[in-house]
């Protein structure tokens, strides 16, 4: 048993690339669901908007990297939010849920269609669009950094990821202490009450959808930059629900909830992955129970078990407060 590898991998999951992009996506969901009460089951499409915004700008349209950032972080998510929000935000919460889940599947299926190969690269996706990003990399590509966890290029992605994540946390923290955040929370509690006090609930919901979507786009963009590729398969529905798991684990409507949730989710995923592999390789795990090819599935089963236990013993999430949860029943 190589305990060093187990600890190192778990720690990498805790702070590494997947942690960064799922935290960002979950921060967006927290804005949507935790603070405003919007049910977004298509965060993957906002993530895809970030990834494809950048990659299409650079590869398909031949624009420079900076225009790619603008397109991916601002313009694509903004348009998406408007397209999905304008028809649904005046209606009950369920309609947005339906539209978001449909939109995320539509985007993925359209993006991989062979007839759009020239634009989206179809199922192979687009590659090599973030060279400009790595041009600024101050780290040595050959060396390992941060307790040997990341090689130079990864370190650069992760470092910028941490910085962007901190900025997003700061934005959420500040806005949620402001009158703007107060209106969002009021809308979550009771939209009509907010309206009766002169608040334009529709517009505030739209702002929340746009801003949360932009956080999601940042997450998707990091995923694309980290792997230098934007592929439809990276934005399947599971991705949305991973972000949801991170949010629920950590606790909705808490600023740090999504981050803690994403860290724990990927920490546990990596930990169980390496642990199970080592157990199998070293013969501690009887063949009858599982073999090496099943490790991937078993770790998700364990996450599922963990979520069930969480729902039973700590439904408010790790950072949530029980008192607040109890108010729902009154």
């Amino acid at each position: 048993m190589d305990w060093g590898a187990i600890i190192q991998n778990s720690f990498r999951g805790f702070i590494g690339e997947p942690f960064i992009y799922f935290s960002l996506a979950a921060m967006g969901l927290n804005m949507h669901y935790g603070y405003t009460g919007l049910l977004n089951f298509g965060q993957a499409v906002f993530m895809a908007a970030g990834a494809y915004g950048l990659s299409m700008a650079v590869v398909t349209l031949g624009l420079n990297f900076w225009w790619g950032l603008l397109l991916g972080i601002v313009i694509f998510p903004l348009l998406l939010a408007l397209i999905m929000g304008v028809p649904t935000l005046r209606l009950r919460a369920d309609y947005l849920a339906i539209v978001t889940i449909a939109a995320s599947e539509m985007f993925r299926i359209i993006a991989r269609s062979p007839s759009l190969d020239r634009w989206t690269g179809s199922s192979d996706g687009l590659t090599a669009f973030a060279n400009r990003f790595y041009d600024f990399n101050p780290f040595d590509k050959q060396k390992r950094y941060f307790f040997g966890l990341f090689i130079g290029n990864q370190m650069w992605v992760v470092l910028i990821g941490w910085i962007v994540l901190s900025i997003v946390v700061l934005i959420v923290w500040m806005t949620m202490r402001s009158p703007w955040g107060r209106v969002l929370r009021a809308i979550r509690e009771d939209e009509d009450a907010a309206r009766s006090l002169g608040k334009n609930a529709y517009w505030f919901k739209m702002q929340s959808l746009i801003i949360g979507g932009m956080f999601g786009a940042l997450g998707g963009m990091f995923r694309a930059i980290g792997t230098q590729s934007a592929q439809p398969q990276n934005f399947i529905t599971d991705v949305t629900f991973f972000a949801w798991v991170a949010l629920i684990l950590g606790g909705a409507a808490k600023v740090g909830g999504p981050i803690a949730g994403a860290a724990i989710l990927y920490g546990i995923l990596n930990f169980t992955d390496v642990l199970l592999r080592q157990l199998v390789e070293n013969g501690y795990m009887p063949e009858a129970i599982m073999d090496g090819t099943q490790v991937g599935q078993v770790r998700f089963m364990m996450i599922g078990l963990g979520l069930i236990l969480l729902a039973i013993y700590r439904p408010q999430g790790i950072f949530g407060t029980k008192e607040e949860m109890a108010l729902d029943d009154r």
Binding site: S178, G181, R185, A186, A193, L197, G198, Q207, A253
Partner: protein
């Protein structure tokens, strides 16, 4: 404690006791307001004027359409046809939140306290034209901190008046039903309305709290606000209203000062015709 004498009766000098009577100084005028749900005509009001600076009660047996009419007047529901003028502003196509900003604020039959927000945050929410309600300015606290302090001060004064100060930092969800009614009324005042519309302010309130609620409602009028309230509690109607409008089956069937209503034949028919067991004690006098 006895009822305070009504002070706004003289506003109705010369107004005939009949449905759709023209008032001396109307703040709100509704014309041919009609709303049908499928085949059921819930509201069909030919004409109604609400007197400025008075307490008007809107009563009616269950299903008379009072709450629907309330929703139509505040644009929480759109009428099929009809015009509504509030202080001369046509309300056609105006969003509900804009109606509130025009100065007509409503409360709800089922109290809408924002459970997972503190009492003081419930109050602060009512402040209008808050600079910090813009996303970008929200990131720059120095732009709204002073306004926030001013709003908080006003909120605290109102909480004091409505005797909710001790609950200031508790979640609104922990308040009792009566306290929530008080909070909702206090919160509505944060908007600084010219007119408040209370939908069944007494529903589910214990008798001890009732008297203080009544005092608060008359207090609103004494401050110059116009009050329109929907209520089934006849004691409250008799005690504090200056003018009573009676609805039945979506129409206005009678209007007049509270004394005149109890003896009105149309009202007696409306209540006793379909509700023999009504708590309304119409034949006492």
């Amino acid at each position: 404690m006895t009822a305070e004498p009504s002070t706004a009766q003289e506003l109705f000098d010369g107004v005939p006791y009949e449905p759709g009577a023209a008032k001396n100084d109307p703040i709100l005028v509704a014309d041919n307001v009609r709303r049908a749900f499928g085949g059921l005509v819930a509201v069909d009001v030919e004409h109604l004027e609400v007197q400025l600076g008075a307490i008007t009660a809107l009563i009616g047996p269950n299903g008379a359409g009072t709450t629907t009419f309330c929703n139509l007047l505040t644009n929480f529901d759109e009428p099929d046809t009809g015009d509504r003028l509030f202080e001369g502003n046509d309300l056609l196509g105006v969003s509900a939140y804009k109606v509130a900003n025009l100065g007509m604020v409503r409360t709800f039959q089922l109290t809408k306290s924002l459970s997972k927000m503190t009492v003081i945050d419930n109050m602060r929410l009512g402040g209008t034209e808050q600079a910090g309600e813009s996303f970008f300015r929200a990131l720059l606290p120095f732009l709204w901190r002073r306004q926030e302090a001013e709003i908080t001060q006003r909120a605290d004064a109102l909480l004091e008046r409505f005797k909710l100060s001790h609950m200031r930092d508790e979640f609104a969800g922990t308040l009792s039903g009566g306290q929530r009614k008080l909070l909702e009324m206090a919160r509505a005042l944060m908007v600084r309305p010219n007119m408040v519309m209370l939908d069944e302010p007494m529903a589910g309130v214990n008798p001890a709290l009732k008297q203080s609620l009544l005092d608060h409602v008359t207090g609103l009028r004494d401050e110059g606000m116009t009050v329109l309230f929907v209520e089934h509690d006849m004691d409250m109607v008799q005690e504090i209203s200056d003018w009573v409008v009676v609805m039945a089956e979506g129409r206005i069937i009678a209007e007049g000062p509270p004394e005149s209503i109890a003896s009105n034949q149309a009202v007696v028919d409306a209540y006793l015709g379909s509700h023999h067991d009504s708590a309304l004690d119409l034949e006492a006098d």
